[in-house]
Symmetry: C2
Subunit: 211 residues, 2 copies
């Protein structure tokens, strides 16, 4: 099994499989056929089989998939059994929403520090973590084994902060700023461009009205 040859498209679909398998697990379902999973997820059974074949199959012909096993194998592939310390840069509403989202912690993402430039927010606590001034960021990352920085700040600040993060050898950036960051290739960047998403919705609305 050579994971390097797996396409980004397949990787992109794994979180959705993981989500459905988690729901099945929570409902006490132990086995599921690719046909039933196909109906549930509204993708073809052949797509499911092809996707899972990338990772060795996970299933026995005719017996369906073992939900718990599959759930755990996908978690392993996605690296969800690892723990990662993160900092949130930007303690506004979005930063607060992410800090308060407990599910991230269940998946191994631990919020260690929160930073902001707004003096009114400094010292405020979010889930018992005090908001610190930006000046502390570099030192904090270096001394607290931080892998991931979450950027929930406007684009100008994000570009400047990314430069600091590169200096600190950050491993990954989860970027909510409305800009593509220019960082070395060995830093993993996952963008959430909310405006882009809203524009796609707008396009869909336009198409709907043209029908």
């Amino acid at each position: 099994m050579d994971e390097k040859t797996i396409s980004q498209a397949v990787i992109g679909r794994l979180p959705r499989y993981y989500r459905y398998l988690g729901d099945l697990k929570d409902s006490g379902i132990e086995r599921i056929s690719s046909q039933d999973l196909s109906k549930l997820m509204k993708v073809t059974a052949s797509q499911i089989r092809q996707d899972f074949n990338n990772f060795g199959g996970f299933g026995q012909q005719g017996y369906g998939y073992n939900v718990d096993y599959l759930y755990n194998e996908i978690a392993k592939i996605l690296g969800l059994h690892n723990k990662h310390n993160l900092v949130i840069v930007g303690a506004g509403n979005l930063g607060q929403a992410l800090a308060n989202y407990m599910n991230f912690e269940r998946r191994g993402f631990i919020v260690k520090g929160i930073f902001d430039i707004n003096p009114n927010l400094i010292g405020k606590t979010l889930r018992q973590i005090p908001v610190q001034p930006m000046e502390n960021l570099e030192e904090f990352i270096k001394s607290n084994n931080i892998d991931i920085a979450v950027l929930t700040i406007p684009k100008d600040g994000a570009v400047k902060t990314a430069e600091i993060l590169v200096k600190c050898n950050i491993k990954a950036i989860w970027n909510f700023a409305h800009v593509d960051l220019n960082v070395p290739d060995d830093i993993v960047v996952e963008n959430v461009h909310l405006s882009d998403s809203l524009m796609k919705l707008s396009y869909g609305l336009g198409q709907r009205e043209n029908k």
Copy 2:
């Protein structure tokens, strides 16, 4: 020009073009070649030409693209010149973050109402819009020409709310809940699954460590 034949992949790239062209416009740049745009956006010039050819090209051979014209044409394709009224269901941190994000209004998305089940939030105002109880949602949508509902609530509430929205003939749902909604095909659904995004980042981190 038959927009129906344009692939989802091309549509998915338009918001990013729009974003870069907006930045160029703000910097006072009037013309750009596909080569320069290619360097800036880190996609091949041939990809750019192919993408734009889907919509009639927008450029004259040898003269590059007119930034302002291209920006406006993409806005038209994405339907950004239309105004859409929306409601936000869920006045927690994420709902507040979206309500406060002025850029959406610039793009024609007008927040008309905000709803929550939490009695402590009812009557609170976000950008001068009072938070209303969920009981008012159906009537409000029907009488205020609402096209879009933004769901920033947990998944159980989102599934129930989607049923109400279907009854009200909502046109589009911008879904932040960690669940795929089961709604008729004529409702445009754009999902932002933050956990899925974080899992992709986790996978990237795992790959990085295996190198």
